[in-house]
């Protein structure tokens, strides 16, 4: 059964009995919860578009494992063309949802785990890659969403995993059995965790010999015994409980993060892909981060398209679209947004095959891409707020518009260009608020800063990959200086 539809995906989640806490309560029916449902709708779009003829070229791929048509989110990249299509698909989905659609972390995890386990097997004589590919075949066949879980809670940041006062601050093995392992710990900031069918765990930092029990990669069903979720709050999230469609800004779609707790979870050996091989943990972290930094060139430019469109719409509604400074600001927004996209395309076009056959992006350009993403969406947001004006943050509630006494005043005094309705103006203002200050800003701004690694992580990689001695040599040569 490959290629689920959006509604089949939503129904498939109902079969999973997950333990989820939100707002101090255990949630039973999480699929229909008003705070959670928009994030499920965003994931569902990754399924829905795979059935639309005008998008199948981007949304589907031919599996390198089975030869069948699969959703691209479960595919191992087989060429630079695949890498480019990934970025284009992400841009499309960003445009359609205006938020994080949450399926990229698992996708990036597959491609990183595949090439690293292959290299581990070559060097160590293990059979992790065979296990992983069997697992991925199962994922492709059932068109599953897999949460790529990397970020540990990390405890005292001065100390390595094995030096922590609480040994559970990083996910680790607590017991080895003939049939599998038992793991404990937690993963933080887990995008789309609650909406996933499976969890693929990876180490969060390069491990040393003394941290071997933390050099761990495995997969478990998202409702495995001992797994529980504590749902993250988002700015303005309780507006989702008010029942309206205007004040939320983006009523249909949203992102999601949660803490996943692994409370002594059993993992059978066939689902263990790294267990103690600390020498390979760094490569896994680096590759996953590289793929995920590429991803942001696609998804954030897609969401950026929505914000550029919203700025243009509000300029028109407020009668300002012909003002030269407004036009200039919108062009500046486009320039920044397309720069992000260019980096995503560039690191894909410059990709290369790994020894497993799976293609890897150019790591330098992927890090440049992500470092730009830590900055440009903030500037694009500043410009959008500049164009929109202060009404975005002073606009009364949609309930006041419906009030028999207050409503007519708001309708009269908040009308701008008569060609557009007041409600139209409010809806666009709220969308800009959502993306730059509200629930959407979690994905568009803070996730752009810290997701796939904070800016310093990219700077370290850029410094490491830059080949400064070569640059120094060419400079010296032109300056007429001998060897330095």
């Amino acid at each position: 059964m490959s290629l689920m539809t959006g509604s089949e995906y939503i129904e498939s989640l109902r079969k999973q009995k997950k333990k989820i806490f939100l707002g101090g309560e255990a949630i039973g029916n999480y699929v229909d919860h008003p705070i959670i449902r928009p994030s499920i709708n965003a994931c569902a779009m990754t399924y829905e578009l795979s059935h639309q003829p005008e998008h199948t070229e981007l949304m589907t791929a031919t599996s390198s494992l089975t030869g069948k048509t699969v959703n691209r989110f479960t595919h191992l990249h087989q060429s630079t063309e695949d890498l480019i299509k990934k970025v284009k698909m992400q841009r499309l989905l960003g445009q359609r949802t205006g938020c994080c659609f949450q399926r990229c972390v698992g996708f990036d995890g597959f491609n990183a785990v595949d090439s690293v386990t292959y290299e581990m097997d070559q060097e160590l004589g293990t059979e992790y890659n065979k296990r992983f590919r069997n697992y991925l075949e199962y994922v492709q066949e059932n068109d599953l969403i897999v949460d790529g879980a990397m970020t540990d809670t990390k405890g005292n940041r001065r100390l390595s995993p094995s030096q922590q006062e609480d040994p559970d601050q990083f996910v680790h093995v607590v017991e080895r059995r003939p049939d599998g392992i038992v793991v404990r710990g937690a993963k933080a900031h887990q995008t789309g965790a609650v909406n996933s069918h499976e969890i693929l765990v990876m180490p969060t930092v390069t491990m040393r010999q003394e941290d071997a029990d933390y050099a761990l990669s495995f997969a478990v069903p998202a409702d495995a015994q001992g797994v529980l979720y504590i749902y993250g709050r988002q700015s303005c999230d309780t507006r989702r409980l008010e029942g309206g469609t205007i004040d939320v800004g983006n009523a249909m779609f949203g992102g999601q993060e949660a803490i996943i707790v692994f409370s002594d979870v059993f993992v059978p050996w066939e689902r263990v892909f790294m267990c103690g091989e600390y020498q390979h943990s760094g490569a896994l972290v680096e590759r996953f981060a590289g793929y995920h930094r590429q991803s942001y060139g696609g998804c954030k430019s897609g969401v950026g398209d929505v914000l550029v469109g919203a700025a243009q719409a509000i300029a028109k509604i407020q009668g300002l679209e012909k003002a030269s400074h407004i036009k200039e600001k919108i062009v500046e927004m486009i320039h920044l947004n397309e720069t992000i996209y260019s980096c995503g395309i560039a690191c894909s076009a410059e990709g290369r095959p790994t020894s497993s056959g799976t293609y890897l992006i150019d790591l330098m350009l992927a890090n440049i891409c992500k470092l730009n993403v830590t900055r440009f969406p903030y500037e694009i947001s500043r410009l959008a707020q500049d164009v929109a004006g202060g009404l975005m943050v002073t606009l009364p509630s949609e309930k006041d518009f419906g009030h028999p006494e207050a409503g007519p005043y708001l309708e009269k005094y908040l009308r701008s260009d008569p060609a557009y309705g007041t409600e139209e103006r409010c809806r666009v203002q709220r969308l800009i608020e959502n993306l730059t200050l509200g629930m959407g800003a979690v994905g568009y701004l803070t996730e752009s800063m810290h997701g796939a690694g904070s800016p310093q992580a990219q700077k370290i990689m850029i410094g490491r990959l830059a080949n400064l001695p070569y640059k120094e040599r060419v400079a010296r040569q032109l300056a007429g200086i001998g060897k330095g």
């Binding site: 005008e54 070229e57 981007l58 949304m59 063309e81 698909m89 445009q95 398209d305």
Partner: protein, 72 residues
């Protein structure tokens, strides 16, 4: 006998025209089940037709689909 009409799209990551509108317009331009194979590029980058060179298919851009007049 005329072959069954087939329409292929580039994927539409950032198209010049809204894909739903292009689809509707194509149905107006090429009504019925029979017809040529049509490759539709969403924008000037023309990813699909660049890849599928020399197939004998009709190549159109989304903008062209939207601006072309229906043949009488």
């Amino acid at each position: 006998m005329m072959k069954k009409k087939k329409v292929r799209y580039c994927g539409n990551c950032n198209p010049d025209e809204y894909p739903g509108d292009v689809k509707k317009r194509l149905e107006e331009l090429f009504p019925g089940e029979a017809g040529p194979t049509i490759l539709v590029d969403g924008c000037a980058r023309a990813c699909l037709s660049k890849k599928e060179k020399d197939t004998g298919a009709v190549v159109m851009s989304a903008r062209e689909v939207m601006t072309r007049r229906k043949k009488r």
